[in-house]
């Protein structure tokens, strides 16, 4: 099961981070519209911060998958787990990049 965990961990963490950032975006925009909490100006720094955090977590996971303590045995499991580690990192960059570039609550 540890091999399966290694294979699944990075994409699953991407999914969690992606959903969390989308949820955070919803909450921040709702608060901004109501005008009861943080101003709209807070939305982008928080979203970018969340993006950065997700990136750091993915890079940490990838480092783990290459580390001697956590890496899988040579062969199938090592190749597939490292590949899915890169999938998690690239997916995080590609799908959360809009936090840097697109209107936050437009």
């Amino acid at each position: 099961m540890t091999d399966l965990l290694r294979i699944l961990i990075s994409p699953v963490v991407w999914l969690a981070a992606f959903s969390a950032v989308y949820g955070l975006h919803g909450v921040l925009c709702e608060i901004s519209i109501d005008g009861t909490g943080y101003s709209r100006a807070w939305a982008r720094p928080m979203l970018v911060g969340a993006f950065a955090l997700a990136l750091l977590v993915q890079m940490g996971l990838l480092a783990l998958l290459y580390s001697t303590s956590f890496q899988a045995r040579p062969g199938f499991a090592r190749t597939v787990s490292r590949t899915s580690g890169w999938v998690g990192l690239v997916a995080t960059i590609w799908t959360l990049f809009p936090t840097l570039a697109v209107t936050a609550c437009g």
Binding site: G26, C29, T83, A91, W94, V102, A104
Partner: protein
């Protein structure tokens, strides 16, 4: 024992009962798999006839063939049948039939659950078909958006048929998913490590995990919408704190992964068949596995791309647009791996290969139009037009039907033991391929010209007449082609023209069985040293028939197999399966009684049916186990392993763990819905919060903690040879304390019909009470089993399962308590 005597002995042990009783009591995976496939293709026929009716209606402008009400039933049922009663069950049937054979074992993990799943599908699907015959079929579109499907706009029973029938059918999918996950991970031939698994098994494993995560949101949505319709709980009514967009989120949290749930097993079939057709191995096995995993998980981040026109902020659109384009990459990795496999091999243009080529052409077009609709401005233009209808058919027919037809022709000799004689298949393929393109390619254009989906008619002045007529003609050509496939399959079953063994010269283990495959699959289980055992050892089938593998000597009437280590495939446990029984069909009928009572609003029957299911479940489990400690069992080749009753992680533990994954996703979806309403829906915060109750805030967490600790102690004591009774009784007290606490909570909670807040709290409360009662039932059952002598320090497997359910109860108790009281306390 010689090979023939062994064959006769094993056939007697593993076969279904003779005569009609066999159909209703069989639990053998080959029987149930074929029953699934036959039923699914019957529904395909029904869905196809509905498609013909749709095309007949749209062939000419101002058509009077069917009125709008009936036409709405046509397209709703066409989509519903094709998605829920054909595509998913075909996958289930194919995997149920093939997996044990490909994995080199004798059956799936839980044979009775396989049969129960089939009967749930049979009865649930039957409900929907009956509604169609009586003209009261669902008519709100296959995705059933409220408020159209709410009580106000759809007061009839039509929508209820969909919500209740589909939820019933989905039990079958969840059963199959648990079954496949545990079977692929634990029920393999010794030596079959993860990297030696057939690629089809990888795809099925990934798909099963997707079903466990993808179906619960829809089950939750269906329950919430039915609660709204039946009892007025306003989850989707804006005026009372609900939001119809919540349905869209829940539906597409299921609906988008569903596309990949359908595609991935089909891709698994291609990855299996194509290398055989090219006389080579699959190029980039590891990359293909990684791509399948990536595609599966990425597909859960796309659901909002079906909601681009709902007014979501730009950044939200950009997230999902980006994710939607990203899935093209793992898909392309697979496509290039298949092309590369063809390149390095020597392709033979046999009939399955024709369908694979049809897949390539059609699916790639569907994928490209998918990238087009992933781009938000383009999607805004074509949303809800015939362009999207064309796109989804290119993806689903191209990505599923062509591969499944390839699979039908590829594995048909294994099922029937015969080869094709009349050669209708090539003509059928030509008709299907051309008919499909003629039907759906023009649909892109008529969509771009503005034709909406689901319209029952149009005017001649719209300029769509010629294109629609061409589409309709193409649709009927396609239907002729599919009818010829059906005819050829029937002829193949009837005409005795025996096939040679392993006719495609494949390397995977299913071809090591007799043809047609016997009920027991393998006379003795193989030891696997490579991914293509038959290529490495062509004599393997003969040696297995001689009993030179594992478990080659039948013992009594035992249905035996082996459980292995997940990663290495080393033998771990010895299994004795239950025999044929009517329990699955009786339990499915009783489950159906519950759904039917809700449908016809005979609510007093519902608790009786639930009680019936609980009693049957107890009988189901009671029949397992033994009153004597089993020693280590010899499985052949000088290896001894413990029986599954004498281990800490029996197959039941694995099944429970994966079922709880689905359960947790269900609960997580409920929490998401609560947060969504709180954040997005108008009229929140609610007019009044639930008042804090000292009793609930004390009894619930204390009861949960007592239950968890006492249950763990009971397990530990039993393992040490001490009495587990006190621990079990204490745990029982704890779970009943949780049930009582949330019973009180339900009494004091705000009215569930006044505001979505009260309705959500009510669902939370009922969820915890049901889980507490379920845990209590498990504990009472264990006490009875202990008293009856089924549990000992050695026979400890049964005790291992309750703690994970009770642990789960503890977690949801904590989360619901926080979700219910924290907002009120903070505000």
């Amino acid at each position: 024992m010689n090979a023939l005597a062994r064959h006769r002995r094993l056939t007697a042990i593993w076969s279904s009962r003779p005569g009609w009783k066999g159909w209703f009591s069989t639990v053998n995976h080959s029987d149930v798999g074929l029953m699934f496939l036959a039923t699914a293709f019957f529904y395909f026929l029904v869905g196809g006839i509905l498609a013909m009716l749709i095309r007949a209606q749209l062939a000419t402008p101002h058509s009077a063939f069917a009125g709008p009400e009936i036409y709405s039933q046509f397209f709703t049922m066409h989509g519903t049948i094709m998605m829920f009663l054909f595509a998913i069950p075909v996958i289930e049937g194919l995997a149920i039939y093939l997996l044990p054979k490909m994995l080199g074992t004798r059956d799936l993990a839980y044979p009775r659950l396989t049969a129960y799943g089939y009967w749930c599908y049979f009865f649930g699907g039957g409900m929907l078909i009956i509604s169609l015959l009586f003209g009261i079929a669902p008519d709100g579109g296959w995705f059933m958006y409220p408020p159209l499907t709410g009580k106000i706009h759809s007061p009839g029973i039509n929508t209820d048929f969909w919500l209740i029938g589909i939820t019933f059918v989905e039990i079958s999918a969840i059963c199959a998913a648990v079954e496949f996950t545990v079977s692929v991970l634990k029920y393999r031939a010794p030596g079959m490590s993860l990297d030696r698994m057939p690629i089809f098994a990888w795809y099925i494993l990934v798909t099963a995990l997707m079903i466990l995560c993808g179906f619960p949101p829809l089950i939750l949505g269906s329950i919430l919408l039915e609660l709204e319709r039946a009892f007025g709980m306003p989850f989707f009514q804006v005026g009372l704190g609900g939001d119809s967009l919540l349905w869209q989120h829940l539906f597409w949290l299921f609906g988008h992964p569903e596309v990949y749930i359908i595609f991935l097993p089909a891709a698994g079939a291609i990855s299996t068949i194509l290398p055989v057709m090219a006389s080579t191995t699959l190029l980039g096995y590891r990359w293909v596995v990684a791509a399948a995993v990536a595609l599966a998980i990425l597909s859960f981040g796309l659901w909002v791309h079906h909601m681009f026109t709902t007014g979501i902020p730009h950044m939200g659109l950009a997230f999902f647009s980006a994710a939607s384009t990203l899935v093209a990459i793992p898909t392309a990795v697979q496509v290039f791996a298949w092309i590369g496999t063809l390149w390095k091999g020597s392709p033979r243009l046999r009939l399955p290969m024709l369908h694979i080529l049809g897949f390539f052409f059609t699916f790639v077009i569907g994928g490209l139009t998918g990238v087009m609709v992933a781009v938000v401005p383009f999607d805004w233009q074509v949303h809800d037009t015939a362009f999207v209808t064309a796109h989804l058919h290119y993806v689903l027919f191209g990505g599923f039907v062509f591969p499944i037809l390839a699979a039908v022709y590829y594995w048909l000799p294994l099922v029937t033991g015969r080869k094709r004689y009349f050669r209708l298949g090539e003509v059928a393929f030509a008709l299907i391929f051309l008919g499909f393109q003629i039907t759906f390619l023009p649909m892109h254009w008529v969509g771009l010209m503005g034709q909406r989906r689901r319209i029952s008619t149009y005017g001649a002045e719209d300029g769509w007449t010629a294109i629609n007529l061409i589409s309709s003609v193409g649709g009927f050509v396609l239907a002729f082609g599919l009818a010829m496939v059906l005819l050829e399959v029937m002829l193949n079953v009837i005409v005795r023209h025996r096939s040679e063994r392993n006719p495609w010269l494949a390397g995977t283990l299913e071809w090591a069985t007799l043809m047609p495959a016997p009920a027991y699959n393998f006379a003795s289980l193989p030891h696997v040293d490579s991914r293509d055992p038959l290529w490495d050892d062509p004599d393997l089938p003969v040696r297995l028939a001689r009993g030179e593998g594992y478990l080659g000597d039948p013992v009594g009437d035992r249905r035996e197999t082996i459980v292995v280590d997940v990663a290495t495939g080393a033998p771990e446990q010895h299994v004795i399966y239950p025999a044929n029984t009517f329990l699955p069909i009786v339990m499915a009928a009783t489950t159906g009684g519950f759904f039917l009572s809700v449908l016809v609003k005979l609510y007093w029957v519902a608790p009786v049916a639930v009680l019936g299911v609980a009693v049957l479940a107890c009988i189901w489990v009671w029949r397992l186990g033994s009153r004597e400690d089993p020693g280590d069992q010899s499985i052949g080749r000088g290896i001894q392993v413990p029986n599954i009753t004498a281990v800490d992680r029996p197959p039941g533990w694995w099944g429970s763990a994966f079922l709880l994954v689905a359960n947790a996703i269900f609960f997580g979806s409920l929490l998401f819905g609560y947060a969504f309403l709180w954040t997005v829906a108008p009229d929140w915060p609610p007019p009044a919060f639930v008042a804090p109750s000292i009793f609930v805030l004390t009894a619930a967490p204390v009861g949960a903690v007592i239950a968890i600790v006492a249950c763990a102690l009971a397990v530990r004591n039993n393992r040490a040879g001490k009495q587990p009774v006190v621990g079990l009784l204490l745990a029982l007290g704890g779970t009943l304390g949780v049930a009582a606490a949330f019973g009180v909570f339900l009494i004091h909670a705000p009215s569930p019909t006044a505001h979505a807040y009260g309705a959500t709290l009510w669902v939370f409360g009922v969820y915890v009470v049901l889980h507490a009662l379920l845990a209590a039932l498990m504990l009472v059952f264990l006490l009875c089993r202990h008293r009856a002598g089924y549990i000992s320090a050695v026979r400890r497997a049964e005790l291992a399962i309750a703690p994970i359910w009770i642990g789960y109860l503890g977690v949801v108790t904590l989360l619901v308590t926080v979700a219910a009281y924290l907002p009120g306390l903070v505000t």
